[in-house]
Structure formats: C-alpha cells, structure tokens
Amino acid sequence: MKYCLIFFFLIPLSTLPQSSFDFHSPENIKKFADHLFCQGDYLRAVEEYESIKNSNLNDTIDFKIMLCYSEIGLYQMSNLSEVRLSKSIFKKEAECLSLKNRFKASPNSFYKISEIKVYPFSKEDRLTLNYFQKLTSVSFLLGSNELISKDEIINPFDGYEKKTMLSFYEMKVNPACKSPALAGVFSAVIPGSGKMYVGEWGDGITALLATSLLAFLAYDNFRADHKTRAWIFTGLGAFFYAGNVYGSIAAAQIFNARINFEFSEGINLFLEQKNYFMPEYDFCN
C-alpha cells in the first residue's frame, strides 16, 4: 500500500521537466528568435539573438544577426558581424552582404570604392568580385558621374540581367530628356510650341490660340482707337506670352525630372526583384 502511495505521488514529479518552463534559457531564446526571423519580425529577432550572443554565439546566429540588421536598415551594425564571420563558413556570404549594405547605404557613391582600388575583400575570390562589379555597375548608372564604358557596365552580368542592364545603359546614355532652353526658345518664337515639344499638345494649342487672340484683340482695339481696352488686351497678351515661355521651360524640367525618377525607380525595382544579386538563404525550411 505504501509503495502504491509513493508511486502515486511520484507521478507528478516525473512531469517536472515537461511543465516547468524557462522562457529565457538560451535554447528557448534561440528557438523563439528563429521563429521571429522566419516570421520576418527582424527587429525583435535581432534583439533576441543579441541577448544570447555572449553565451550561445555561433556562425549561423552571427550571420542571422547580420541579415536582421541589414533588413531593418541598420547597415553599419550589420557590417560589424563581417569581421567575426571572416573565418567562418559564411565568409563569402558575409562579404557579399557587407557590400550590399554599403550599396544600400549610399547607392550613388558605391562605385567610389572601385576608384580607391582598396577592395574590402580578396580579389582572388571571383564570386565576391563579380558581386562587387555588379553593384559597381549599377552604382555608376545611378550616379551623376561620368559613365564608364558599356562593356564594363554589362560584362559582370549574364543572360536576362545583361539584357536589362544594357537597356538601362542605353537609357542613361541617351535619355529621352527635353532641353528646357530649347522649349523656352520655341515658345518665345511661336507661343505654345515649347509645350508641344515637351509633348503637352493640349496646353500648347490652347496657349497658341489664347496668345494669338489676345494679340489680335490688342491690335484691333489700337486700330479702332480704343486705347484703354487695347492696353488691357496688350497686358493680358504679354502676361499669357511670358507665362507660356516660363511654363514651357518648367514643363521641360518637370518632364526631365520624371524621366530621371522613372529611370531610378526602374533600377531600384530591378534590384529588389534580384534581391541585389544576393543568393537566397533559406533558414526557415
């Protein structure tokens, strides 16, 4: 009987390891951090990984920390992991991610690294070198600097990427921009023609008709000796004329700004689609 009683009371004791739960043990923090990472909650994930960094750091966690910081836009923090990973199996990935971070931090001036000729990786590493060359090419296209040759821009790429980069290169070299000065001169000679040159045909025709009518009304009233009305129409005509010249210059500038914006947006969309040419890492399946 007494053994039965002891056995009866020992049953709950055996459940101790299952039900007493330490949420903040390093193993559980890691499990939870992995869960957050896979959910895309990088801000919380990196906080959890950082909390076990001292006790439970390994290369995978360190690389995930680097990825998390990169995803939330803290590029300098992300690159701190690169040194630690320089002797790990993630060496190449960390180098590429570090380059991606540098590119995302300042895409328009990333190409300057190649000008200094001091590369932040070993030049014998062909994969990283190719990755670096790809980002440098894109940076040249995004920047306002003098462009390097077509071959240098497209050579790091293959297949579909090469074709796309070639079209971006053509758009950069021969942009569909309009000259603001020319638009202004056109409108000064024939009112509205500057607007038509920019492609705003409706506005151009309206400006031509309105300015011509006001000029005619002014002329007609001067001829009929209605000086007050004639001066009113002259003033209005001059106002329309000057406004049209100014409007044509502004329309050309707006047109060019739109072309440049669409060009940059196109490149950014291409980069997002290609994940900045980075390989995909599947830590979640």
Binding site: I6, P12, L16, F21, F23, D41, L217
Partner: protein
C-alpha cells in the same frame, strides 16, 4: 507504517504540489509579465513577450487573450494591418460568443481608424444579420454611428446613436445643422458674390462682384457698339472665366468650412468625449 515513511510521503506530497503550482505559474507569469508591459504602455516589449508566450504555449490557453493584446499593442503603434491580423487570430481562438464579438468589434474599430469605412460598415452589417449577436444591437449601432462620423455622414451617425446615446446623437445633429449647404452656396452664386457672402467670405464676395461687373460691362458695351468679335472674346475668355470661377469659389468655400467644422467636432470627441472611442 513507520514514522520515517510517513514523513517521506508527506514531503513528496508537498513537493509534487509545489511543482504543479510552479509549472502552471510559469506560463501565467509570462502572461502577467507581458500584460504588465502592456499596462505600462511599453507596447513593443509587450508584443515580444506575448509572442514568446504564444510560441511556447501548446495548450492554446492564452491564444485569445494574447493575440487580442498584441492586436491592441499594434493598434496603439498605428500598425493597423498587423493589428487586424492579430485580432483575426484572436477571433479564431475565441472560446465564447462574447470573445468572438469583441474581436470583430476591435477589427471594425481599426477599420474606422484607418478610414476603411466601407469595410467597417460591411463588417457591422455582417454582425447585424448574425443571430448570435441579436442581443448586442446597441453595440453594433454604437459603432455604426462612429463609422458614419468618420465617413463624415453626421445625419446617419445621429440616427445610429439615436436613443441609446443621446449625447452623441445630439452632437451629430448639432454638427450636421452647422454645415453649409454646398449646393445652396453654388446656386446662390448665380448672382456673383452671394454664395461667398452665404459662407461668410465677404471680401472674396466683393472681389467676385467687382470682376464680374467689370468684364460684364466690357462685354455688353462691346455688343452695344456692334463690336461682336470683341464681345465674344471678352465674354468667353474673361467674363465667363471669372463667372465660372465665382461659382467654383463659393462651392470650395462651403466645402472648406464644412471640413473645418468636421475637424473641430472630431477634435472635441477626441479630447472631451469620455465614452468608448475607436
């Protein structure tokens, strides 16, 4: 039974009881910790701790409450899509009809806040035809009233609040009564400037009268002197331009003043109304 054995059994009994209490408490403690952070308005950490609890809690005991509080935390941080996601999870894990209703109402409140009013009204209509919630019609009408307020439909809002909330109903009637009639403002402007006078924009009204009198005079004068071409040009290019501008102006003033009244009423509700708000 010897006394040693008895003592041994008692110790084991006490130990096992303590262990059971402790094991139950570890999840409860985690919930309490997260709830404390939520109550302290530390919403970021509250979400982290609730997510930690949900990740490790296989029993689903806290699924409803934790998901709901995560939703409320995200709502406080104006992350409305995340908030709706977690309120939906709370709804899926609700064990009573009241919990389902509360989750649905929270989703509706977030839709009101993020101005997806048509979605909020659709969800309210779904609740209205759901027989489980026949006894919650007052709540449904109350939140319909708030949805109409944010849709700038104060008359419908007043009808929704009606007898159950005379304070809000009276406020909505008052706001609705204060609005300028946009159509009337535009119609009055057939006589230039009168629409502007109606909306209290006297200077603008006088300027409008001045321009229309000037160009009207020049147009009529041109026709009177048989200068038909001049008359057509001044009439179409100038007089008509200023006359149609006068009509648009009166309409714009009425809309602008109504918007100011709406914003003022919303500010009053935000700062002074004590009852439940979205």
């Amino acid at each position: 039974m010897t006394s040693v054995t008895k003592i041994f059994i008692v110790i084991i009994f006490i130990l096992s009881g303590a262990i059971r209490i402790f094991s139950q408490d570890s999840f409860q403690q985690q919930f309490d910790l997260a709830k404390k952070l939520f109550d302290e308005e530390n919403y970021f950490d509250a979400v982290t701790e609730f997510k930690r609890l949900l990740f490790f809690d296989d029993t689903g005991k806290y699924s409803y409450e934790a998901n709901k509080l995560i939703g409320l935390s995200y709502k406080q941080g104006a992350k409305f899509s995340d908030a709706i996601h977690y309120f939906s999870l709370a709804e899926n894990n609700a064990s009573t009809e009241d919990e389902v209703f509360e989750s649905k109402i929270e989703i509706i409140k977030v839709n009101i806040l993020r101005r997806t009013i048509s979605r909020a009204l659709t969800l309210l209509d779904d609740l209205r035809i759901d027989k489980r919630f026949n006894n919650r019609m007052d709540d449904i009408n109350y939140w319909s009233g708030w949805a109409y307020i944010f849709a700038d439909e104060w008359e419908k809002a007043s009808t929704s609040f009606n007898d159950h909330n005379p304070e809000l109903s009276a406020l909505c009637d008052s706001v609705n009564g204060d609005f300028y009639n946009v159509t009337l403002a535009k119609t009055l402007s057939i006589i230039p400037g009168v629409g502007q006078f109606y909306t209290g924009e006297y200077v603008s009204g006088l300027i409008s009268i001045g321009w229309n009198v000037l160009w009207g005079y020049l147009t009529i004068n041109a026709f009177a002197e048989d200068r038909v071409f001049d008359g057509i040009m001044v009439g179409t290019l100038l007089w008509w331009r200023f006359y149609s501008g006068n009509l648009q102006n009166a309409e714009k003033f009425a809309q602008q003043k109504n918007l100011e009244k709406t914003n003022s009423a919303l500010r009053y509700l935000q700062n002074n109304y004590i009852g439940s708000k979205p």
